[in-house]
């Protein structure tokens, strides 16, 4: 075999090399750019540090906070409240959304009302709710459940409506009972919608919960943020670090949990 400098083998070697070199994802580069911009602004003194603390201090505080029991308990409280709220909403909404999806008369009777309630200003209602129930965890859970209601309701209703009529025929012809029709046909059919609904409602009610915590000072990470924002440079750093923590939690939940579950359904769709 003749020696070839630019033969296919040589090409492969070059190709492999480029593949092995580490390529940072594009978003990481943008993030580093933004951080550098932030850091240079506070270093230049363009904005006073009591209005914009240097980034490295915020990040340092974030790491410190992450091991502070007081802070952790606030985060855990908010997360527990939102999870309980979303679960509660799911248990309440699932049967209703299934019924409405299958019975168009019920749908016509109920959905406009639900849309109406959904169109009311959430934060105002929720703050009002706090004045009735009080500021405890019960209020926080009720608020999460309330905000989670609508995304779950509409995505599941849509999912049920989109089930092909022939799937119901298959279930009937092979004589599936009510329970079997639900577990073996309806539930898998709406699974992708269910995931989307849960994902949306988690994001939504997590945001609303923090807002209500701040507005109505219900205990949780929201109150931690609001009490620390504004008073002094030191505590502003704490507030910003807490805000970042919320962002990181949201993204992690989304990626680690919901996206994975959604990806599972891609095998068959």
């Amino acid at each position: 075999m003749p020696f070839r400098l630019f033969g296919p083998r040589a090409f492969h070697r070059v190709h492999d090399k480029t593949r092995r070199r580490f390529r940072p994802p594009a978003w990481l580069l943008s993030l580093i750019a933004i951080f550098a911009f932030w850091e240079s602004i506070s270093a230049s003194g363009l904005i006073a540090t009591d209005q914009l603390p240097p980034l490295h201090e915020v990040l340092l505080t974030l790491v410190q906070l992450a091991v502070t029991p007081f802070f952790i308990s606030h985060v855990a409280q908010s997360l527990a409240n939102v999870t309980t709220g979303v679960s509660l909403a799911l248990v309440l909404v699932l049967p209703l959304a299934l019924l409405v999806g299958m019975r168009s008369q019920l749908d016509q009777a109920l959905t406009p009302i639900i849309m109406l309630v959904g169109a009311l200003p959430d934060l105002a209602i929720l703050t009002f709710l706090v004045t009735i129930i009080g500021r405890g965890n019960v209020a926080a859970v009720a608020i999460s459940a309330f905000s989670a209601f609508f995304p779950i309701y509409f995505t599941i209703r849509q999912g049920v409506k989109e089930i092909p009529a022939d799937y119901f025929h298959v279930a009937s012809v092979f004589r599936a009972g009510r329970a079997q029709t639900f577990t073996k046909m309806i539930l898998p059919s709406i699974f992708p919608n269910l995931m989307t609904g849960l994902r949306l409602s988690f994001e939504f009610s997590w945001n609303v919960l923090l807002a209500v915590e701040i507005i109505a000072s219900v205990a949780g990470i929201g109150t931690f943020i609001s009490t620390n924002l504004g008073s002094s440079t030191h505590s502003l750093t704490y507030g910003l670090a807490a805000i970042m923590t919320v962002g990181i939690i949201t993204i992690t939940m989304d990626r680690a949990f919901f996206e994975r579950l959604e990806n599972r359904t891609k095998r068959w769709h």
Binding site: P164, H169, V170, S172, V173, K184, P188
Partner: protein, 272 residues
């Protein structure tokens, strides 16, 4: 008599309209027979099959299976769908097992039955694929295997070959004919493809335009396998085709008359 229909009428009440889909339909299906049902589009063929499947109830009249009134899906009556209707989250073998799973049969038995049937329809080796990975022809093979898995006495097929390319459909028809010959199960196939009906049927039930009545029942006494180029085949085709054409003209005529009346109404309104 395996399946009997007497004076079956189906009226859809969809206020303010009422649509009479079927009117006084009576016919019998013999055990082991291959009966094809043809008729003009929209005349009520699917409705008829759905009622035999127990998915829908007649407005009046009665359907009997082995002499007993049929009012709900029966464990010995199975169905193949035009849309295949495979459950996309189940693999090929899980789809075939569906009916047996509902019946609560043990896993080993289900797999054995399903594998045998997949063998029969030429899908051995594809049992772990998902429906989206299959061609239309393969999907309907799964649909047929699923229908046979519960060991039915009657197999209902609604336009089972209509959503498949003609080349594959031809092969599938030959397979179904073979399955019928070997199993001696009763087959009811609704189709708008007349050569398909003549190729497969022992008898062809010709329905009239809506509201559908039994226009004629034609026995097909040709040797199998049947070639559409046979002179007898062509004669039968011509005969049934002219029956259907007369029906079509009737319904077109009625349709046109309706349009004409609409048109007159509009004109009168404009005159005023």
């Amino acid at each position: 008599m395996h399946v009997e229909l007497s004076n079956v009428t189906k009226v859809y009440e969809d206020p303010p309209e009422t649509v009479t889909a079927l009117k006084d339909i009576s016919f019998n299906v013999n055990e082991g027979e291959f009966l094809c049902i043809v008729g003009p589009s929209g005349c009520g063929k699917s409705t008829l099959l759905r009622m035999i499947a127990g998915l829908d109830r007649p407005s009046s009249g009665e359907i009997r299976f082995r002499g007993d009134p049929l009012t709900a899906p029966h464990s010995k009556i199975s169905m193949v769908f035009q849309t295949f209707a495979l459950l996309p989250w189940r693999t090929v073998i899980q789809n075939v097992e569906f009916g047996l799973e509902i019946q609560g049969r043990p896993k080993m038995e289900r797999i054995e039955v399903a594998m045998d049937l997949l063998d029969m329809v030429g899908l051995r080796g594809s049992e772990n694929l998902y429906p989206k990975q299959l061609s239309g022809g393969m999907k309907q093979r799964v649909g047929i295997a699923r229908a046979l898995a519960i060991d039915p006495e009657v197999v209902l097929m609604d336009e089972a070959f209509s959503a498949i390319d003609e080349f594959t459909a031809e092969a599938l028809r030959a397979e179904v004919s073979d399955i019928h010959k070997k199993s001696r199960k009763t087959f009811l196939l609704v189709t708008h493809n007349l050569p398909e009906a003549i190729e497969l049927a022992d008898r062809i039930l010709v329905l009239s335009a809506r509201p559908a009545r039994v226009k004629s029942i034609v026995g097909i006494d040709l040797d199998r396998p049947r070639a559409s180029t046979d002179s007898e085949f062509i004669t039968i085709h011509k005969d049934i085709f002219s029956l259907l054409q007369a029906e079509l003209e009737n319904s077109l005529m009625r349709h046109r008359l309706g349009e004409l009346q609409e048109f007159k109404k509009l004109r009168d309104m404009e005159d005023r």
